[in-house]
């Protein structure tokens, strides 16, 4: 099989499918807007902290 197709399946299709199934399963335990906002804030903080640390360790 074409390596690009394999990469698409492994990198996008499977994670998206898992996320979709989890989302459907979670319908009985719905995420609140407050939880979503907290998740978003935590993710952004993580991206900035990780990225700035890496950039400081790899200066131009």
């Amino acid at each position: 099989m074409n390596p690009l197709i394999l990469a698409l399946i492994k990198g996008i299709l499977i994670p998206e499918l898992v996320a979709y199934i989890q989302k459907r399963q979670a319908e009985g335990k719905p995420i609140t807007e407050a939880e979503l906002a907290a998740e978003f804030d935590a993710r952004i903080t993580r991206i900035v902290a990780t990225g700035e640390t890496w950039l400081a360790e790899h200066p131009a």
């Binding site: 099989m1 074409n2 390596p3 690009l4 197709i5 990469a7 698409l8 399946i9 492994k10 990198g11 996008i12 299709l13 998206e16 499918l17 979709y20 989302k23 979670a26 319908e27 719905p30 995420i31 609140t32 807007e33 979503l36 906002a37 998740e39 978003f40 804030d41 993710r43 952004i44 993580r46 991206i47 900035v48 990780t50 990225g51 700035e52 890496w54 950039l55 790899h58 131009a60």
Partner: protein
């Protein structure tokens, strides 16, 4: 005798990928307020940007891509995250333009490198999904 029919597999895979990503356009039924839907959209984009950052850092560490290339992409992830935090309701054009500028700085062979290709494609796709139609979706 082998058929001369064009190989549609890449297009089918891309269609399925787009379909799954497009499903991210619909917030869960519990997210009802406009503000909640804004945060949901921004969070979906942030997920792909975080995945790109993780992938790029790992690819650089394993010498899959040069440090200079990784620096461009990691800088994009940090700056985009800051934009998402400050203007979660209006990040689209800023992030899409920054993504286009970042990609211009990177030789195609690295954008197509198997170690980061899927993460790059995921950002391309999620931005295309969430970019307002009025901008022409130009990436």
């Amino acid at each position: 005798m082998r058929s001369r029919r064009p190989d549609l597999a890449p297009f089918v895979a891309l269609f399925i990928a787009l379909a799954f990503l497009a499903s991210a356009c619909h917030a869960p039924i519990t997210i009802t307020t406009p503000q909640g839907k804004v945060i949901y959209a921004a969070n979906e984009v942030a997920k792909r940007i975080e995945n790109l950052q993780t992938t790029v850092i790992a690819a650089e560490a394993s010498k899959g891509i040069p440090t200079d290339v990784a620096r461009v992409l990691v800088t994009f992830t940090v700056e985009s995250a800051k934009v998402l935090r400050v203007v979660p309701q209006g990040w689209q054009v800023t992030v899409a333009v920054a993504w286009g500028e970042a990609k211009k700085q990177i030789p195609l062979k690295y954008l197509n490198d198997p170690t980061i290709q899927v993460a790059v494609l995921a950002v391309d796709t999620v931005l295309a999904v969430w970019l307002p139609v009025t901008t022409g979706g130009g990436l």
